[in-house]
């Protein structure tokens, strides 16, 4: 083992000397306490190390030890339901062994090497296998098969495979490689976090990623394998949206990265998810979730790594052919971690002190998302949803701008909506989705042919309302025609009865596309009929007082199981007919 020597310490940045064999991005152990670090720069004899743990008390002259491999994560059975810090240290085990606070120099393996799993083969002796092929599986949770794949770069013929109760370190398959060498394969893979995992090829996303959030699915949908960003000032509900997606999105695996955010938010996930059930499988949500928690007070360098650790774990599950979604909350904190390290390295700063490579790093992170054909020739997808926390809510700042250049969906959170407690505070006019067409095609086939017509109509009403509000602000509502007043009324209904969705209500928290369609269609249908009847002398304030409107507003609280009650087309029609008869009587 080779030892170097510390020559300088400044916060998380350490300079060491006497390490001739060191490689870029190699993991090192710093000081007597063996703190985790990573080599990030080399100048002549000097090696610059970012340390993943608090460096208080370190002294120049203490040893630095090379580990010989880059920063990596361990991938294998046991990942699901775990909670890790930014460098994949298991927080639950650390709590059990070391107590409530994270001390330094703790070295606990991320996956239990004692726990045994039942390995069930999918291949037989004599089968030819290559990288990515599923050789067998482990039933990790009742709803999830954790496939054991041939590690990347390996090819051969199976010599031995059998059903066995094994730990992740035990050999489960023996291969004979081309060079006639015997190769023993166990259930754990190690993969460097900064390198993307190989796939056969990428394919263009072709299905919407259903989230159960009305404003998302109907107005600004994401695709399976797509990317989205949620920028917004503090208090606008970024985290609630991320949690909602993690809870209800139609994915097999969720990787939730709490990057430089609040500890209590992670606790919320940890406390809530084990009790919530997936509406599709009926299994607990925790059984499909991997958590990475590097809260704001945990070391900043590990925060920088947390996003990469998360996406590598997500890619691993994608390689099994699963639909995976990664939520990163928040990428701004990740960017700030880069800025902090860059500042300590005395690099020439780009915009607002961020390093010049900020946008290329962000782009390369989001580019790891996508729909792919895996090495085993199966479809798999990895969708990435990143929250951004722009200072002062200013969207012109570098992190937002660099993100917008690469993502396809933009959910703009507005403080004014949040103040009126309109949640999700996604603004309908400023947000956009480039997956709209794709989603329309799918929903028209699977839900209702009128899907996109209704949506377009709703959107144009909201647009029109914004213009009319300008007029109202200047001259009041009296200057508007009845039809224009109707637009205001319908827009209000769209906002309150459709877009507003209460994450804390048991029923309202998730809405299936089918119900979303019915809810919006009720509103649009009422609007269309009202438009016709206005010609016959109906006043907007009469429409306002229709009892059916209150019913439309309550549809959100009707459970999914009573879907037929959501369709109010007939009673809506009756309301108008009733008005017509009354109107005729009174005019006679």
């Amino acid at each position: 083992m080779e030892y170097g020597k510390i020559v300088s310490i400044s916060g998380p940045l350490i300079i060491a000397e006497n390490l001739p064999d060191s490689k870029m991005y190699e993991v090192v152990r710093v000081g007597k306490e063996k703190l985790f670090g990573e080599i990030i720069e080399m100048h002549g004899k000097q090696v610059f190390i970012q340390c993943y743990e608090e460096t208080l008390g370190l002294k120049p002259g203490e040893p630095v030890q090379l580990e010989g491999f880059p920063l990596s994560v361990q991938l294998g059975p046991g990942l699901i339901s775990s909670i890790y810090d930014g460098i994949q240290r298991p927080l639950e085990l650390i709590f059990d062994q070391f107590g409530s606070f994270i001390a330094r120099g703790i070295d606990v393996p991320p996956l239990s090497s004692k726990k045994t799993w039942k390995f069930i083969p999918l291949k037989q002796k004599g089968d030819e296998v290559s990288a990515g092929d599923k050789m067998g599986y482990v039933q990790e949770t009742p709803s999830l098969k954790h496939y054991i794949m041939v590690p990347p770069g390996i090819q051969g013929t199976i010599v031995e495979i059998k059903e066995v109760e094994a730990t992740i370190q035990d050999t489960v398959v023996i291969l004979r490689t081309k060079d006639e060498e015997k190769m023993e394969i166990n259930m754990v893979q190690t993969w460097p976090v900064r390198r993307k995992r190989p796939v056969k090829h990428k394919i263009v996303p072709n299905k919407p990623f259903v989230t159960g959030q009305r404003v998302v699915d109907t107005f600004f949908p994401v695709a399976e394998g797509g990317t989205a960003c949620v920028p917004g000032p503090f208090g606008s509900g970024k985290t609630v949206i991320q949690h909602q997606l993690a809870k209800w999105a139609d994915a097999d695996i969720i990787v939730y990265v709490g990057c430089g955010e609040r500890g209590n938010e992670m606790t919320d996930v940890l406390m809530e998810f084990p009790h919530l059930k997936d509406p599709k499988t009926g299994r607990f949500l925790m059984e499909r979730t991997v958590l990475i928690a590097n809260t704001s007070n945990m070391p900043v360098a590990a925060r920088e790594a947390s996003v990469f650790s998360g996406i590598t774990i997500a890619e691993y599950f994608r390689d099994m052919g699963y639909k995976v979604a990664l939520m990163a909350d928040s990428t701004s904190r990740w960017a700030e971690a880069m800025r902090e390290i860059s500042g300590r390295l005395e690099e020439m700063p780009g915009e607002e002190g961020y390093p010049a490579y900020l946008s290329s790093r962000i782009a390369s992170f989001y580019e790891r998302a996508g729909k792919v054909q895996t090495l085993a020739d199966e479809p798999g997808s990895l969708s990435v949803i990143g929250a951004v926390s722009p200072p002062g809510g200013d969207l012109s700042e570098p992190v937002v701008q660099s993100t917008l250049r690469v993502v396809k969906v933009f959910w703009s959170l507005e403080a004014t909506l949040a103040y009126a407690r309109h949640f999700p505070a996604i603004h309908w006019l400023n947000s956009y989705s480039l997956y709209q067409k794709l989603a329309d095609q799918n929903f028209e086939k699977e839900v209702d042919a009128r899907w996109s017509k209704d949506r377009e109509m709703a959107m144009s009403i909201l647009q029109k309302e914004a213009e009319l509000q300008e007029i109202v602000r200047l001259v009041g509502t009296d200057a508007l025609s009845e039809k224009e007043k109707l637009v205001l009324l319908t827009a209000k209904s769209i906002k309150e009865d459709f877009l507003h969705q209460n994450a804390f209500d048991d029923v309202d928290t998730y809405t299936s596309p089918q119900k979303q369609f019915l809810m919006l269609h009720n509103i649009i249908y009422l609007h269309q009929l009202a438009e016709q009847y206005i010609e016959k002398g109906l006043n907007t304030h009469e429409v306002e007082n229709f009892a059916i409107r209150e019913k439309i507003g309550r549809v959100k609280y009707i459970p999914e199981s009573e879907m037929e009650r959501c369709n109010l087309a007939d009673p809506i029609k009756e309301s108008f007919e009733k008005w017509e008869t009354q109107h005729k009587e009174s005019s006679q």
Binding site: S8, I9, S10, G11, E54, L56, G57, L58, K59, P60, G61, I83, L91, E92, I94, G99, S100, F101, A103, R104, P233, F234, G235, G258, G260, R262, G263, N264, M266, T267, D268, L270, T295, S296, N297, V300, R333, E336, R339, E340, G343, E352, S389, P391, G392, D394, A415, Y419, A420, R421, R473, G476, T477, D478, E496, D497, F504, N545, E550, G553
Partner: protein
Amino acid sequence: MIKEYKTLCDIAGPIIVADGIEECSFGELVEIILPDGSVRKGEVLEAKSNRALVQIYEGTEDLNMGNTRIRFTGKPVEIKLSPDIIGRIFSGFGEPIDQGGPIIAETTKSILGDPINPYARDYPSEFIQTGISAIDGLNTLVRGQKLPIFSGAGLPHNDLALQIARQAKVLGKQDRFAVVFGAIGVTFEESNQFIESLRDSGALERSVLFINLASDPVIERISVPRFVMTTAEYLAFELDIHVLVILTDITNYCEALREVAAARKEIPGRRGYPGYMYTNLASIYERCGRIKGKKGSITTMPILTMPDDDKTHPIPDLSGYITEGQIFVSRSLHAKSIYPPIDVLPSLSRLKDKGIGKDKTREDHANVMNQLFAAYARGREVQELAVILGESALTPTDKHYMKFADAFEKHYVNQGFFEDRSIQETMDIGWEMLSILPASELTRVKDEFIQQYYQSKGNEK
């Protein structure tokens, strides 16, 4: 072995550099002995093989190159703790400044502390009744929350904080309770107001105070919140006490941070504040909370004055991203002589949903809260509209909203400095306000609650 050096080679602002150092560690406490024998304290910011960059807490006045001695103590900045610290007053560097004599330490702790393992956290869910409607009803505080007060110069944020400290209680429980107060660069008068008010209400003997006045060394301000939080952690997690931390004024803390960053010639971030200010503030705020299996808790209320009432200024902005909500003190409400002048719309308590509802406050709480927010937001819009168009241009519904907004400010938000409202009273006033509106407007309240609580006044359609 402790060594002394006379090898000072650079002095700039609060930073000195010493050469030829044999051994020093990052973050180590340093003592500087001036030629006249007086001693100052500092901390190593950068440790190199033979050089050390040291930040001096009490300033570098009178230091000279030749005769100043530097002593490396070999340990980080620490605080002495024992149960006897309750009721005592300390300086910004943790030295007792009352007449109580020195503290005999039961334990000493580094003021930096270790981060709480997120897995070890227990979710805050116990409702704290502050007796202030705008907080209890709409921005509910729970045990273990960090809820800052965003205020401006000349606003009564101190009164508000004091009222909370005086009235805060968890219903139906008689737990041990303590206040840890950190004054960061405030004036003598402000600090005195806190001390006197705590004394008057009898809370001083269960308080620990750390006082750094405006005239005290600037750099000391950086350590005040760390002494405060270390003390709070000790009281909460070792002595099982429920601790309320009040820190005032975080703006002064950030300014001190900027001063050090500038002296170190670091690349400045927004408005000259260092790029790591988020992380730095988080290392204070995040030390608050609850831990599984421990009886005590830390609830934090930092007070910060927003320069020019601008909430996009880096200090409130970064704080808002770390804390679990904020209480906004509004100048326009203050001008209308409404006390407490809390603007409820931009105020927020992120943890309220876990602390309210059946068995905690009342089953209709969440609905009423959402409806009050929505109605008040609408009412404010109508108020603005009325300014432009005149009241006669408003629709009948709009007029209801306008009446609601006025009444809401005067009767719901407004209350006395010594008025301690129970949550029942707060809820009842809320319904009284909502009853100004027609029942059909209450779309965010469930029907059953409307039937139970709505006070029909013949203004239904």
